[in-house]
């Protein structure tokens, strides 16, 4: 309780201290500490197997962990788009059915669809028959329909082309500006960092680097994170 009061004063949405996650006897994350301010966009970067998804799962409290995770938010929404994309054909679910899983229906659904540029006529269409781009838009609308103040997004653009990727991040940026949401975003995509991140967490079991992109994304840090030969030519973000 004391921690929560301090966090409200500090405007901190999430405080992680000495987080260690061990799955099947293997240490996935070791002694990780960081904070996320309210309204901040934190991008979690790292190679495959670095523990990015595991970190999100620990933050959601769906796997066991050691250390402390303290949230100071009202309503969190989580989206694993790649997993949804792979499993959208297992049932004949329409867009309307998909929303009904969150007990949302009627006019709210239409408004939600329109907010991401999708037509209300898609309501009766099976989600398996949406294009990948439409499905990713639907995911965003669906994640935001119960007006969360915090969004946890795991690889939102995997499996879609460059144009689609741009659209997804522009949409996320629009919602971030409109609702001042706190966003924690896992991605491989370095360009996203400069475009959208307030802070970056480079993950390779323990936090390899953490801070504002301008200071953190050095060639040395990236080489240490991904191995040799990684360079990033950045351009500045217009926020």
């Amino acid at each position: 309780m004391k921690a929560k009061i301090n966090m409200e004063k500090d405007k901190i949405a999430l405080r992680v201290k000495n987080l260690t996650v061990e799955l099947n006897g293997q240490v996935i994350i070791k002694d990780l500490s960081f904070e996320v301010k309210k309204g901040e966009t934190l991008v979690v970067l790292g190679p495959n197997g670095a523990g990015k998804t595991t970190l999100l799962r620990a933050l959601l409290g769906v796997i066991p962990y050691k250390g402390s995770i303290t949230w100071n938010v009202k309503n969190t929404s989580y989206l694993p788009p790649n997993e949804l994309l792979q499993r959208r054909e297992i049932l004949p679910l329409t867009v309307e059915d998909f929303y009904s899983l969150k007990d949302v229906s009627g006019e709210t659904v239409i408004e939600s669809l329109r907010s991401v540029g999708l037509d209300g006529n898609l309501l009766k269409k099976r989600i398996a028959y949406l294009s990948t781009g439409q499905f990713q838009r639907l995911n965003i609308a669906w994640a935001l329909v119960d007006k969360p103040d915090t969004l946890l997004f795991d690889e939102p653009t995997s499996g879609i082309d460059i144009g689609g990727t741009e659209t997804i991040y522009s949409l996320l940026h629009t919602f971030w500006e409109k609702y001042n949401m706190t966003i924690i975003l896992v991605t491989h995509d370095l360009s996203v960092v400069w475009e959208h991140a307030d802070n970056v967490l480079c993950l390779n079991k323990s936090g390899l680097c953490y801070g504002v992109p301008q200071k953190i994304l050095t060639t040395e840090n990236l080489e240490q994170l991904y191995g040799t030969g990684v360079k990033y030519y950045h351009h500045h973000r217009n926020k």
Binding site: R57, L60, G61, V62, T76, S77, Y78, L79, P80, E83, L84, R87, R88, I90, L91, P92, L93, T94, E96, D97, S100, L101, K102, K124, R126, Y129, L152
Partner: protein
Amino acid sequence: MITEKIILAILITASVGAVAGYLGTLMLSKRMSLVGGPLGHITLPGITLALLYGFDVSIGAFATLIFGILLIWFFEKKTKLPTEALTAIVFTSSVAVAFLFLPLEEVEIALIGDISKLTVLTTFASVALSIAAFLVVRKIYKKMVFAAISEDLAKSEQINVDRINLIYLLTVAVVIGLGIRIVGSLLTAAVVAIPAATSKNLTTNMRAYAYGGAIAGGLAGILGIIAHLLFSIPAGLAVIIFSSILFLGSVIFQRNE
């Protein structure tokens, strides 16, 4: 002429077929349709005991099924072997043990079911259990679909996935136990798998899919009993043959949009 036995047979096959089809739509979404087969085989020792000592086969089937599921769960915790491997071990052992004691003249009943000895009490108990299982599945249906799409997502929406999975597994055990009477231990996968597949081919939304499974299962039950009466073929086989015919029809008339 419609006798009491015919009415009882139609009541039991229609209700058990419908709930099995309804539950099957969830099993299909969790890619568990084939599990009905091994689970059916696990019931064989219980059926054998029931036939030897003269008590109800569904009670025997249900008891050994619960025991088998607990055994698989225990071995899984102890050994970390995949569930499918442990299921194979438990169900083949069950079949072997059952056949050591199963009287030769009762083999057909154990394997493909028998509805000739139905009583009013067992029929109404089966119908009541079918309705109860249907209501339980309806209660957890959306949550199970949520968890089938993404377990983490379901948990993040405060759904107690472990609890609903346990309820779901117990319901599967009850429905398999009921299905044993009609189709025997050999063919239980059919009563959950075929109607669900038929419904998936013909429906375009979740509600229609779920109830479509129930309708396909119930209809196959009624048609199977009629065929059993007209052509004197075993009821369990007739139910499954009609279920397969409905599936073939769904392949021809399937809706893709």
